[in-house]
Subunit: 306 residues, 4 copies
C-alpha cells in the first residue's frame, strides 16, 4: 500500500501560452500562487486541461520544471504522464520524477485498445518501473476505456495504485469505488475529476476533487471542501450552486466544442481576470474571440468575479 | 497539388520484437524483402499495426532508419507520424524526413477532441511545416473522429494532402471520396486501409490498398491488384475470397481482442511461417499462446500457407 | 404550468410473469401493497423495468387496469407510454388515461432519430393531444438521445412538461436542470431514475426518486427520503450505502447482461423473498438459474433481507 | 431451409402521406407501379424508410392491405414487423400474414438490450410462431445491436432465416456472411440494404439489394443488377456512379438530420417528380421546405431526372 495520501482540493492546472505558443511563465506563476494562497491542497500539472497531449516532450519538461520551482514545496505536485501506451508513459514518468514530481497520474492505454487484462498489466508495469506514487486517471471520454471499479480497488489494495482521479462522469461506479475502498481499509486517495457535483462526490465518500474550474475560482472549492469536512452539507451545496453559475462560461459560447470550448473558456476567463496575459490556445485549437469573449465576460460580471 | 503519386499494394509493415522487446532486425529484413519480392508498390511503416503508438521516439527512429536501409530505394517508404496533437506530430515528421521517409501519414488529433475546423487546421499546419507529401489517415476506431470526404477532397484539391489512407470502415464515404477526387482531376492517391473487401474498393475507384494481411500473404494482394487493373473482376474477387479464408486467423482465437488479437495474429502467423523469430507483442499486450497459436496454425495449413 | 406535483419515492414497478408468460396478478398485488405499506409516494408502471417494451398493447392495458385497481387511489399512478414515435405514444396515452392513469411518462422518439427540434415537437404534440400531466423520461441508454437540460427547463416553464424522470446517468446535466428549474419557480417535479447515488441527487435538489431497487427494499429508500427532507445527510448517506450493498445482486451473476441481468436480478430476489411466485422473464429473455440464483440469495442473506 | 428465394432489386417502399397525415393512396399507387414497371424484383413495405415505427397498428395494416392490393401478385411483398421485442413483433407478423405478406422482415430487439443469446432466441421464436419466410434486418444504427455473421449463417443453415437484409454499413461482415452462406449451400437470400456501393456488394456475392434511392430512380438499379448478373462490372460501376450523383439529394440540405434528411429527401424528390402529391412527413418530423426543396430540385435537374 502506498504511503502517499492526498485529500482536499487539487486543481488540474491550466497551462498559459504566449501568443507565439511559448510557455507564459509569469502567467503560470500568478495562477499557481493564487491557487495556493486560496488554500488548495495540491496541484495537478499536465492533466487533460494542462495541455499534456498538445505539448512536445521538451514543453512537458519545461512545464514540470517551472511548476516545481514555483510551487516550491508548498503543496504536493502531481504530474500527468499521459501517452498512448506503456513504454511512452514510462519515459514521461522517469523524466517527471527526475524533475521533482511527487506523484504520477496515468490513463489507460489509448489509440490501440485491447482487453482489460492489457489495461491491468499497463498499470502494474508503470508501478514496477516508476519509483513514485501512481494515480489511475479514469477518463473514458479521452481514452475510450472505462476503468472498472473492481479492478481499481484490487490494484489499490495491492499497492499498485496510490489513488484514482475519476473523470468518468459515472457517479455510480464512483460510489461503488468509494465504498469498496473503505471496505478494504482505504488504501487509495479517491478524487473526483468533476467540478459541477463535487458536493455529491464528497457525500459519496471522495477524498478530494480535481476541479478545472478551481483555476478560475479556487476559493469556493476550498470553502466547499471545508464545509463538507465539517458535515455542513447545506453550505457545501450552496457553494457548489454558486460555482455552477460561474460554470456557465462553458455554455455561453457558440461555434466551439471540446477542448477549445472548455479550456478555451478557462483561459479566456483568466485573461479577463488579469491572471493570464492572453487566452492563446495550443495548435491546432483556435482561441475564443469576439462575442464569445464578451459572453464569458458577462458571466464573470454576473457572478461578481470581475 | 502534390507530385507524389502512389498506386497499388502498400502494406502497413508489422514490426517484429525480440523476446526482450527490442527491434528484431533480422525478422524485419525477412519481412520487408519478402513483400518487395512479391511485388508490392510501397511500404508503410509506423502505421497502427506497426507499433507506432507503442514505441518511444527512439524506437520510432530506429524503425524508420532500419526500414530505409533495408528497403534501399526499391519502393517508396511511407512513415506514420501518429501522435495526439499537432506539435507532437510535427516533431515526429521532422525526424522521419531527416531519416529518409518519402511521405508522411498523419491521423486527426486524438485524446482531446474539438471541432472539424481544428482538424482542418491540424492538416494545414502539418503541410506547412513538414517538407514531404502528406497523407491523411482516416481511422475513427482509434482517433474517434471520422474525416469527412468533403474536407479531404478540398484539402487534396488545394495540395495540402497528397493522399488518403482510409481505414474508416465506411465504404459509402470512401466511394464518394473516390468520385469527388476524380471530378477534381484526381489530385490524391486514395488507398483503402482494409483487407477484406479490397476488390470492392478497387471497383469504387481506389488507387491502391494498405492491407495488413499482406504481411502474411503479399502475393494474393499483388495478383488482385493486377487483375483489377486489367478489369478482370472475377479473378480479383476470387483472389479476395481466398485471402479472406486466410483472414480467419483473426477470429479463431479466444480471450483476446483489439491489438492483441489482430496484430497478434499477424505476428503468430509470421512466426509459424518462419518469417519472424517470435510473436512477442509490445507491452502491455500479451502474445498469443497455446491453443490460440494452434488455431492459427490450422488456418495457415488449411490455406496452404504452411 | 402543470398542477400535478409529486415528491418522494416513486418506484418503477417490476411486472411479475407466470411461467407461461401471463401477468401474475397475485404477485403483482403483493409487490404493490408491500411498497405502499412501506410508505412510497407514488408508483410508476410500464417503465423500462416494467416490461413496457416487451408487452403487447393488450398486456399493457391489463397491467394498467390491474395497477389502478390494486393501488386504489392510495398513491398516484404514473404510466409509461413508451413507443418509437409520436402517433404510437399518443395511442398508448389515450388508453392509459381511459384506464385511470394519473400522469404519463414518455421518452424521446427512438429507432428513427432526427434533430432536437423533432424531439421538442414530439413532447409538444403529446402534451397537446393527451389530457394528463406529462413527464419526460430521459433514458439515452435505451433511446440514444440525451434530452438537453435547457430544452427540458423550457418545456417545464411553458407547462408542456409536469416533470422529468432522469435515467441518463449524467449527474452534471441533472444538477443544472435542478438549478434551472428552481430559478424558473420550480414548475417541474424532477425525479432521479437512479438508485445508487440517490442521496447525491437529493443534495442536488431532486424532488424525488424512481429507484428500481425499491421493488426489493422500499423501506430504505423511504427512510433516505425522510432523512434528506430533514437535512440529515449523514443518515441519508448511511441508508444509501446499505442499499448499495444490496444492489450487488446486479453484479454477482455471470453470463447475463442488460435486461436479463438487471430486471432478472429484481425478479429473482423477489422470488427468493416470497413476493413473486417465479422469476420468469418476458420473451426472448431467459430467467436467471442455478448459480446465479444462489449468488443473489447470498447477497440477500448477507444484507439481512431474507 | 426455407423455400422462399428472392434475387435482384427489392426497394424499401417510401410511404406517402397526405398533408393531414393520412396514407396518400394515389401517390402510393404511382410509386409502386412505377417501380414494378421499371423491373424491380420485389418490394419491401414497412421498412425503416416506410414509416414503420411512425405508424400505429391501424396504419401499418392499412399500408400492407393497400400494398398487397396494388402489387397484385406482380412481385413478392416483404413486410417489416419491426417492434421493440418478441411478442410485439409476433403480433405484427400475424396480422401481416393475414393481410397477404409473402415474407416478413424483423430486426433484433431494441430499447431493452441483452445478450446475443437473447437475440438468437428472438429470431427462433419468431420463426416458430410465424408461418412465413423470415428475414433478419441488420440495422445497428437503429437497434444498436450488430447481428454477427456467424449467428446469421447458423440460423440460415438451420432454416430459421430465409434471408438477411443488411443495413449495417459493415462491408467486411457482409463479405464474410456471403462467403459463409455460399460454403453452406446458399440457404439464404442475402440483400444489401445500402444504395451507394451496391456494385461492390454484388461483387461480394450479394443476392440482391434493397436501395431506398430506387424509389426515386429504379431504372438505374435494375440496369446495375442486370450488368452485374452478366459480369459486366464496368457498366455496373458506371450505373452506380450515376446513381451516386443523384444521391446528393441527401447532402445538399441544411438544418435537417436523420429521418427528416433522408426520407425527407426521397419524399421531396418524388413530389418534385410528380409521383407524390406532397412531401409531408410523419409526426414529429418536419417536411423539407424552401431552400432545401430548391437544392434537391437542382440535383434532380443536374441528373436529368426532371
Amino acid at each position: 500500500m502506498s504511503d502517499f495520501r492526498i485529500r482536499g482540493v487539487v486543481p488540474p492546472v491550466v497551462t498559459p501560452d504566449t501568443p507565439d505558443h511559448e510557455l507564459d511563465v509569469p502567467s503560470f506563476e500568478r495562477l499557481i500562487n493564487r491557487m495556493i494562497e486560496a488554500g488548495v491542497d495540491g496541484l495537478f500539472f499536465l492533466g487533460s486541461s494542462g495541455e499534456v497531449v498538445f505539448s512536445t516532450d521538451e514543453r512537458r519538461d519545461q512545464i514540470v520544471r517551472e511548476a516545481v520551482r514555483i510551487v516550491d514545496g508548498r503543496v504536493p505536485v502531481l504530474v500527468g504522464i499521459i501517452d498512448t501506451e506503456t513504454e511512452r508513459a514510462i519515459a514521461h514518468g522517469k523524466r517527471a520524477i527526475a524533475l521533482g514530481a511527487d506523484a504520477l497520474v496515468a490513463t489507460a492505454p489509448f489509440y490501440a485498445l485491447g482487453t482489460m487484462a492489457d489495461v491491468e498489466r499497463h498499470f502494474r508495469i508503470l508501478h514496477d518501473e516508476l519509483d513514485a506514487p501512481l494515480f489511475a486517471y479514469d477518463i473514458p471520454v479521452c481514452v475510450h476505456t472505462k476503468l472498472p471499479w473492481k479492478l481499481l480497488a484490487k490494484l489499490g489494495a495491492e499497492g499498485v495504485l496510490a489513488g484514482v482521479k475519476d473523470s468518468s462522469g459515472d457517479d455510480i461506479s464512483f460510489r461503488y469505488l468509494c465504498q469498496e475502498n473503505e471496505r478494504l481499509g482505504h488504501p487509495m486517495s479517491i478524487l473526483t475529476g468533476h467540478e459541477i457535483v463535487v458536493d455529491g462526490a464528497y457525500l459519496s465518500g471522495a477524498d478530494g476533487s480535481v476541479p478545472g474550474l478551481a483555476n478560475v475560482e479556487p476559493y469556493g472549492y476550498v470553502r466547499m471542501w471545508q464545509a463538507a469536512q465539517a458535515g455542513d452539507w447545506a453550505t457545501a451545496k450552496a457553494e457548489q450552486d454558486k460555482l455552477n453559475e460561474l460554470s456557465h462560461i462553458f455554455d455561453v459560447t457558440t461555434g466551439v466544442a471540446g477542448y477549445g470550448g472548455g479550456v478555451g473558456a478557462f483561459k479566456t476567463a483568466l485573461m479577463l481576470m488579469g491572471v493570464f496575459s492572453s487566452n492563446t490556445m495550443p495548435r491546432p485549437v483556435a482561441e475564443l474571440e469576439g462575442a464569445n469573449v464578451e459572453a464569458i465576460r458577462k458571466v464573470l460580471v454576473d457572478c461578481g468575479v470581475i
